[in-house]
């Protein structure tokens, strides 16, 4: 077996072990853990980019390394690095549990990397479980125990139901096709797709991924978990975890070939309900993190539009959308974390006067929110354009119209955020908020990425196209 192919995973496993050892020593200060985590996460990005070109099969063909998986791993590694950058204070978690938090964070990233490379049903299922369980424990790590435990319990219950449904679907799929490798399913499934048993099996299997992506009907956990989790973890769930969910959803739906009919219809329904529910409920939210949670439910709906096209254009659009979501959602959470300096949850009103307290953060927030709303020239616009365009080529005009209508609805609450940051006058004269040098650099990098990939996305679109081509 060619172990060099497995480098990335081995690296993240070792990183998790480092934190496990640190946690057992219990003598390190939280600054040491933070610097170690930052170093390891940065090194991880380098490893991921270094292994971008690898290609091959491992573990009796149940694990596939290809451009698609490597691009997703690089995205996950970047998501992890960004989240670790925000952990310099990590006020939401008690200091003695920081090492455990980092250990779980690295393990979760490892699990998602395993997930995006798996092409065997059992490997997919266990990696999905590993990534979910690490998240449940991390949510419970919140310093305010009642909030954390409540959110973790809700997350756990929805997750367990989703995973039971998914297992049932997998069992039915195995009963119908007798195959567990995705490569076999690609061959066996398309002629069987119109059998009711296979349709049900496939749909139930997808439920596990719908839970990860927070798509209707498995979206109930999102607002409570975003609000109950430590802020940094909420940022992680909103970015890296979504990338993994989108990637595995693409890999599994790709086995259906160029199917139309029941599978696509049900995905259309799920997409429409998700974006409508997400956007409408987001309108009345006061808590900023809950608002972002509902907005991610809506965005999951938009991503599904790309996936349900089941065409290379749709898939590359969805992958690009994943990248855009990482950058935009992360920028929003960066502002949340900097404003809520003691790790509390913040309301929209508490953004008041942000443009005077920290003009740079306010500008970044505005750009990110415009990106989420899909206003040019940000990356969000390009992503939506790609996804909608792919659906248009397949002739889903009604779906696009409903999605556009949703975009208009979402503008209202996105503009509310901008209004709170720029126009609302704070009750008292606001104290200026110091922004440290590294954070400034990070914000500039994020703003630059949002604008540059919005104006000149060709290279990334081409990369996404090449990456998703291996799925077919």
């Amino acid at each position: 077996m060619n172990w060099a192919l497995f480098n990335t995973e081995i690296f993240y496993f070792c990183a998790a072990v480092v934190f496990l050892v640190l946690a057992m020593l219990r003598q390190t200060g939280h600054r040491t853990s933070y610097h170690t985590a930052l170093f390891l996460a940065a090194l991880g990005v380098v490893v991921c980019i270094g292994t971008l070109h690898l290609d091959g099969l491992l573990f009796l063909e149940s694990y596939r390394i290809d451009l698609f998986s490597q691009v997703c791993k690089a995205l996950l590694a970047m998501g992890l690095l960004l989240v670790v950058c925000l952990c310099s204070e990590l006020e939401g978690v008690a200091a003695e549990w920081h090492n455990e938090f980092y250990m779980l964070l690295f393990t979760c990233t490892l699990a998602m990397m395993l997930l995006v490379s798996s092409v065997h049903m059992i490997t997919i299922y266990v990696s999905l479980e590993l990534s979910s369980y690490t998240l449940y424990v991390m949510v419970a790590l919140r310093r305010d125990k009642v909030t954390g435990t409540k959110a973790a319990l809700k997350y756990f219950l929805v997750g367990v139901v989703a995973s039971a449904v998914m297992l049932f679907g997998l069992a039915l799929l195995y009963a119908a096709c007798g195959a567990t490798y995705l490569t076999d399913l690609v061959r066996l499934l398309p002629p069987l797709l119109n059998r009711p048993l296979v349709m049900t099996a496939l749909l139930l299997t997808l439920c596990g991924f719908f839970f990860k992506l927070a798509v209707f009907p498995f979206h109930f956990w999102a607002p409570d978990v975003y609000a109950g989790a430590p802020n940094q973890l909420a940022a992680y769930i909103a970015t890296a975890s979504k990338v993994a969910a989108i990637a595995i959803l693409m890999r599994v739906t790709a086995v259906a070939g160029d199917a139309t009919g029941f599978l696509v219809d049900s995905l259309v329904v799920v997409a429409i309900v998700s974006m409508t529910v997400g956007n409408l409920v987001a309108l009345v939210q006061k808590d900023l993190k809950r608002l972002l949670a509902y907005s991610s439910i809506a965005h999951a709906g938009y991503v599904l539009i790309g996936i349900l096209s089941l065409t290379p254009a749709g898939y590359s659009g969805a992958l690009f959308y994943a990248l855009a979501l990482v950058v935009m959602k992360f920028t929003c959470f960066l502002v949340v974390i900097k404003v809520a300096d003691d790790g509390r949850n913040i309301d929209l009103d508490q953004l008041a006067g942000l443009h005077r307290r920290a003009p740079l953060l306010a500008m970044a927030l505005m750009l990110a929110v415009f990106g989420l709303a899909g206003i040019p020239p940000t990356v969000g616009f390009t992503a939506k354009l790609l996804v909608f365009n792919a659906a248009m080529q397949n002739g889903y005009l009604t779906l696009i119209l409903i999605a556009m209508f949703n975009v208009v609805i979402s503008l209202y609450y996105y503009l509310l955020i901008v209004k709170a940051a720029y126009l609302t006058e704070p009750a008292a004269e606001p104290a200026p908020m110091p922004v440290s040098g590294p954070v400034k650099g990070l914000v500039f990098a994020l703003v630059g990425t949002m604008l540059v990939t919005g104006i000149a996305p060709h290279y990334l679109i081409e990369l996404a196209r090449r990456a998703t081509r291996v799925l077919f």
Binding site: M103, H120, T123, K145, R195, L197
Partner: protein
């Protein structure tokens, strides 16, 4: 073949009844005992399907170790004094209707599929074959599961320590 069929349906009925009773019991100790019966039933089902090793594991691990652990936890935590009904009728009736509807659809789905009438060949998996299948073919999955157990251990440790000041029972009550 007929004898096997009769045994299969008898065992399935036993498992369903025992699990149903386990879910609906108010007394947690009774629920665990019914669950043990259900696990014994599934063990016999595994034996019937030609997996004696799996049957033995089911009895040793699930019916033995895990259930004893459950009993320990129940007796240590003393959370048996739940007064309120678990689900009010307003919630349980729609749930029951949905479940029955799903049962109907599921039955139609499975019986209408040609795959459901395929005759199963009698087969038996020796422990050695079973072990090498599991640890050679699904090696990666086994490693991932072991990592999962490590994470579960960390989580259990955290929750156990975090509630040193407050008993678990009060946390449970707040969550319910």
């Amino acid at each position: 073949m007929l004898l096997y069929t009769i045994l299969f349906y008898l065992l399935s009925a036993l498992i369903l009844a025992a699990t149903g009773l386990a879910v609906t019991r108010r007394n947690l100790v009774h629920a665990v005992v019914y669950l043990v019966i259900s696990f014994f039933g599934s063990a016999m089902l595994f034996y019937l399907l030609g997996a004696p090793f799996l049957a033995a594991l089911e009895v040793i691990i699930y019916a033995g170790a895990v259930m004893i652990l459950f009993l320990f936890i129940i007796m240590m935590l003393r959370v048996a004094d739940f007064e309120e009904q678990m689900f009010p009728p307003g919630q349980s009736i729609p749930a029951a209707i949905l479940a029955l509807g799903y049962l109907g659809i599921g039955a139609v789905l499975i019986f209408s599929d040609p795959g459901s009438r395929a005759p199963l060949l009698p087969a038996a998996a020796e422990p050695r074959v079973f072990g090498s299948y599991l640890f050679v073919k699904h090696w990666l999955a086994i490693e991932v599961v072991s990592l999962l157990l490590l994470v579960a251990l960390v989580g259990a440790l955290y929750i156990g320590r975090a509630n040193k000041a407050r008993t678990v029972a009060t946390v449970n009550k707040e969550n319910v």
